[in-house]
């Protein structure tokens, strides 16, 4: 009996050991089998983007369309809100497991090119899997860095002043193309006095607006490898900000901080905000008022310093299916049906075919189309400011330090000094 018991135990142990080993092997097998593709030639690619829920719904519809046309390619999706997107992406990419294709923007091209993450799509263009024909306004060049094709634009957008229309009307303010900063400052005061609302949500921390202001004065936020302005320039910009907050023409920064991620305009804390024109789509879903687009104020009455920005699709250099990824991008930028589903959610479609396919009927999308057309007509568009490696960290620092200034935690001098210190670190490394 005693002997038997022992045998029994040994068997149990062996079984336990064996199952452990099997479990271990199984785990390794699944870990290595992250790659895709199966016997019947079906290929799976992973696609990740940032955005809100409504963008995800639209994108999923376009993917269904794609999978119908390419039954041998399956698309797995993943999305986050903007600030979380890159955290997850960095972690995945550094582990050698980035999504095969993902949303991107100009500010990140050099950064991820330097890290060898992005696939040069030129080879796929030559192979005929991806077409660069039919893009509007030279947009096909937007994803080029040092001769490498690192991203394909899906839409174009530009900076604008998004306004709460009824508040502007009530205050008797009518912004026109070519209005100056003096006009703008006077309008802000008028809105505060007549509508009892701050005129702006916090323009002093918007890097892309300060860039336009600098460009109007022959400078720019970035050069190819550093900052394009001096401490004295920024001191002037932020001194004006400090004054404006005290006077109540810029919204109370405490309230703006609490309403995030909702915009201060939609939360009725401010009558306007400088941001990308396609954001009116989002504001309309967030807020109750009617939102419109106003032109960027100028220094000399003509030059706004504006350029077209763009969201893009990039491919991972580590993808095992470059051909399928190229076919996917090609479909997403050229297929007219895709534009009908997406609307102007990611900006005005990049290709002429898609642009023609979606004719807006609602006032919000119509306003965006009119705004971009008016920019072309006014001839104010210029080439884009370069974005060196580290630009994204500079932008985050600019926003944060401006907020600290607004909340009274830093003097202007201190804030300027801090920003230059941080930028030097971010751009230097």
């Amino acid at each position: 009996m005693h002997q038997d018991k022992n045998v029994e135990r040994r068997t149990v142990l062996k079984a336990a050991g064996a199952s452990l080993a099997v479990a271990g092997l199984g785990a390794t097998a699944t870990a290595c089998g992250g790659g895709s593709g199966s016997g019947d030639g079906t290929v799976t690619i992973r696609y990740a983007w940032w955005g809100a829920e409504d963008r995800a719904e639209r994108i999923k519809k376009t993917i269904a369309l794609f999978e119908k046309k390419y039954p041998k390619i399956k698309v797995k999706t993943d999305f986050q809100v903007y600030p979380d997107f890159w955290k997850k992406f960095n972690t995945q990419a550094s582990g050698g497991n980035p999504p095969d294709v993902f949303q991107n923007a100009i500010g990140f091209l050099r950064k991820y090119d330097a890290k060898n993450v992005l696939l040069d799509l030129n080879a796929q263009v030559e192979a005929g899997n991806l077409s660069l024909d039919g893009f509007r306004a030279g947009l096909e060049k937007f994803g080029e860095v040092d001769g490498k094709l690192l991203g394909i634009p899906v839409g174009s957008n530009s900076m604008a002043l998004v306004i709460d229309k009824p508040v502007y009307t009530k205050s008797g303010v009518k912004p026109e193309q070519g209005w100056t900063w003096d006009d703008f400052d006077a309008a802000m005061k008028k809105i505060r006095d007549k509508a009892g609302r701050a005129g702006d949500s916090g323009m002093y921390g918007v890097m892309y607006l300060y860039d336009l202001y600098l460009r109007q004065n022959g400078k720019a936020f970035f050069t190819e490898d550093g900052l394009g302005f001096t401490e004295a320039d920024l001191k002037e910009w932020w001194t004006k900000a400090e004054k404006g907050i005290k006077q109540g023409i810029y919204a109370d920064p405490k309230k703006v901080a609490q309403t995030k991620p909702k915009s201060a305009v939609a939360a009725e804390l401010a009558a306007g905000e400088f941001t990308w024109d396609n954001f009116t789509v989002r504001y309309t879903s967030e807020g109750k008022s009617e939102y419109g687009l106003a032109p960027i104020p100028t220094t000399d009455g003509k030059k706004t310093g504006q350029y077209l920005g763009s969201l893009m699709l990039s491919a991972s250099r580590r993808t095992q299916h470059p051909k399928e990824v190229a076919q996917f991008i090609n479909f997403m930028v050229h297929e007219p049906e895709v534009a009908k589903i997406m609307g102007y959610d990611r900006g005005v479609p990049a290709t002429q075919a898609q642009y023609d396919a979606f004719k807006p009927t609602d006032p919000v999308n119509k306003a965006i189309a009119e705004y971009e057309e008016s920019l072309v007509a006014a001839g104010v568009l210029e080439p884009i400011t370069p974005h060196p490696n580290g630009a994204d960290i500079c932008e985050a620092g600019f926003m944060r330090i401006a907020e600290e200034l607004a909340l009274g935690k830093r003097s202007v001098d201190d804030a300027v000094k801090q920003f230059f210190t941080e930028s030097k670190t971010a751009l230097g490394s």
Binding site: L13, K254, E403
Partner: protein, 332 residues
Amino acid sequence: MGTAVTHAPATEDLTKDSEPRHRPAKSPRPAALKRRGRRETLAGYLFMSPWIAGFLLLTAGPMVASLYFAFTDYNLFDAPRWIGLDNFSEMFADPRWQNSVKVTLWYVAVGTPIKLIAALGVALLLAQKRRGQAFYRAAFYAPSLIGASVSIAIVWKAIFSDDAIVDRTQKLFGIDVGGWTGDPDLIIYSLVALTVWQFGAPMVIFLAGLKQVPRELYEAAEVDGAGTFRRFWNITLPMISPVLFFNVLLETIHSFQIFSSAYIVGGGAGGNACGPADGSMVYTCYLYVQGFENSRMGLASAMAWVLLVAVALVTAVLFWSQKRWVHYEEGA
């Protein structure tokens, strides 16, 4: 530490107990016995192996790696580059790092004592026999079960925002400072409130400690004419000092590691990294920002080790101080 001390002998007894059971009473073959002993040891390790593998792969391995990264410039993508102590000198000179240390120390120094005093106070009330005792204990304990969750942090953020319940209540009393979460100086107090609200866990430990105090000490003191306060100060406090020490130690270490509540109440996804103007940028939040937002894993690893050493030092000081105020019963 009281609990740990009582635990240790208990485990020892168990092993002593079980050994003879496996061993045949009188064995004629010591060699076979040895072999079986070895086999059993092996079996023991085999059964422990999932835990050991987990410890080595998920805890010890990454710790060693992070110690190495702490001395390198590592951005997740390129191979780590050895830079000696540069991470540390950069860290100590960084005003945002200094701010995060200040915020964290403030949080620990304010939150921990208030929490422990609340826990002890309620424990004293609940230690007396009364109707519905079990219900009260459960009710006060519940927050510490759910308090660390993300959903509570989201609720907390809503409570302390503009025009929410706290803002409106303080306005009733003529205090108009707005919501706490938008104010860089006040947001940390909403986090202190969140941790104090979870006093249930130390309270339960205090309750257990209070039960251990012999009744006759109180009776003797009462005969000698000692009042309530006197009895608390001269009997209760010294008698529960090992439990108090244990709670102080645990809560202090725990407070230093605050992350998720600060991250979420301070904005989290879609908002500020950690509070307006870094108002709730506690140490671990800044560590996270450096590591995952700025992709500076080397620097973040260095920060983690500095935190570990700092917490170890605080713990050492606490242990050293217990000679002065913690009374263990002689000969127990």
